[in-house]
Symmetry: C2
Subunit: 360 residues, 2 copies
């Protein structure tokens, strides 16, 4: 009564998906396809798929096919798959850009096969099978893009499967998706790249780089090949966002050059208010409704001690950041807890142990 599910491309996303789906009662067969034979074998050994097949044999009986290959190869795979898919099959992808994918689905898939775009907003610091993690999608936003006229059946099938991974499904149209990720993800990446390359002109500056620089440019560390694809496949929206951003910078530049303190402060205040409104607990993490700052001695075991004090009090730490550490001396730590009540309780528990703590 379950579905035959095929995952094409057993990298970190495909294999994580497999691990998240394999025990679901909705899944009757879980087949993997990968151009590299050894990857397929390893995926079976890991339990990410039950068996592997070549593309055609792997998808011919599939009810749902997840295409987890790089955007670069996706159109070719869709073309190859199209004539083999059975009527009623649902095909979905996991790419970071959606308009181009929806166009490929429209162009190549036969009538009666449903192409639904997908973008799980989760990533890993590792690539390939070694990074496979059955919890990768837990609490992550998973965007689905339905072509006009999609019947409810294929959407329900796909939603049910994706829900098994713990992801939160939202739907939007492809153009809207591409615009929003250009703003929320692609533009910040370009800004980080430009900031780092600008700093590279005066490398001594990197010696003064503190937490602000590190935070602002962190994403510039990620996979250049993947980002090159994203910028190429979402050119229009990215260029649009870049132009808006350069416009914002020029506006700030004008206020600074004219020493227009009032307008400059308005910009800084607007940004502060807006930034505070961004939901906390990103990285697909649970939102931490409440933050606590605590000052502790920095010595082996102190994180354990903190965690144990709160753990014994039944308080879960959903976010943690070491703000400052002093060798052999003390550290300031930010903790996120799920609710204000938890926060109040945590502060009390810590203070009862003589630990300086306060709610932020």
């Amino acid at each position: 009564m379950g579905f035959v599910v095929t995952i094409v491309g057993l990298g970190v996303i495909g294999a994580s998906l497999g691990l998240a789906l394999k025990d679901s009662p909705l899944v009757e067969e879980l087949i993997g396809v990968d151009p590299q034979d050894h990857v397929g074998k390893e995926a079976v050994a890991l339990g990410a798929v039950r068996r592997t097949e070549k593309l055609e044999a792997g998808i011919e009986n599939a009810d749902v096919v997840f295409l987890c290959c790089p955007l670069e190869r996706l159109e070719e795979v869709i073309k190859q798959a199209a004539p083999v898919l059975k009527p009623g099959a649902v095909v979905t992808d996991v790419g970071s850009v959606k308009q181009v994918v929806m166009e490929w689905f429209r162009r190549w898939l036969p009538g009666g096969v449903y192409g639904i775009g997908g973008h799980p907003m989760a990533g890993s610091e590792r690539t390939g099978l070694a990074g496979a993690d059955r919890y990768l999608f837990e609490n992550a936003v998973y965007v689905l893009v339905l072509p006009p006229g999609t019947p409810s059946g294929p959407f329900e099938t796909l939603s049910q499967l994706i829900s098994c991974t713990g992801a939160k499904i939202i739907t939007m149209d492809a153009a809207q998706h591409d615009r929003l990720v250009a703003t929320a993800s692609h533009l910040p990446h370009l800004a980080a790249v430009a900031l780092v390359n600008q700093a590279g002109k005066a490398p001594e500056a990197l010696g003064l780089a503190g937490g602000g620089f590190r935070d602002t440019t962190r994403v510039a560390s990620s996979n250049p090949a993947m980002w090159e694809e994203i910028f190429m496949f979402n050119r229009e929206a990215v260029l649009d966002q870049l132009d808006g951003f350069i416009g914002e910078l020029n506006r700030l530049r004008g206020y600074i050059a004219a020493a227009d303190r009032q307008r400059l402060r308005q910009e800084l205040q607007a940004a502060q208010a807006l930034r505070e409104s961004v939901p906390r607990g990103a990285r697909g993490a649970l939102p931490s409704a409440c933050e606590i700052i605590t000052v502790v001695l920095d010595r082996p075991g102190v994180i354990g001690y903190l965690g144990t004090v709160l753990g014994e009090g039944g308080i879960n730490i959903v976010d943690i950041e070491i703000l400052r550490v002093r060798e052999g001396d003390g550290g300031t730590i930010r903790l996120g807890v799920p609710s204000v009540e938890d926060g109040e309780k945590a502060v009390k528990l810590l203070r009862d142990q003589g630990i300086k703590a306060w709610m932020r």
Copy 2:
């Protein structure tokens, strides 16, 4: 035989400095000056200074005066202090911009009084006395700017005192300082402000904002009034960096518009390599030479358990970040430890407990 030290301005920096200096054998008297009487009283109660005085009485016998007031008020305070200071006194500030301060020192201080610029690169998420922390400067970079011809005596006096706070002193000239902080700190701040305000044009985008957006824009949350001052007092260097940055963005824009994948990839790769070269463990933290990724169950006490396992093994956690959390299920945590040996030992200790862990 110790010094008479006066701290003018008992906000978070001044009061933290007082707490860090008060027990030093180098300090014979520790006097506080603050325009608000109640702040002075609270600072004495906190032990941040031993007594308070009005400005003139507070500084007339001082060997070293730390001016810890906002840049906005600094010139006025220097003018008031100048006629009262005793010959041989050292005056220093804690502002984020140095050329303008050195000019004020030059203009107002009498001969035989030494104005040395200072910039402790440490901040607090709290303002005022409530944020005072005797460890604030521990391991922080503390820039000193010596005017040409400063004798070694005043520099040594000031260095000795600052060393008591645990800060790491580096010296540079004022113009170089202002250029480097424009690159490493002021420009990233403007970029974050512009990114947030750009995203504010399509607020739905904030709902898709993940860890990348949060990291990149985190600094936009900080104090608008302080940043307004910084941009005003470091206008030239900031405008220069903004122009360079807009140039970088336009270059990226050109490559994307022309679909010049090769040049685009070169930029992304250059940024990745440069970003990886930035010393880790910022925020004045100890560098964590080695990073470990571990996957644990997410339940109350698990951070405590992790910390305890490593603490009992004598391993100090110098950095910690929750990469992903899944409700009631599992989490991926990045740990920084001081050395590769510690990292190897930590991975072994965790694996012995059945915890998935690897070195990054």
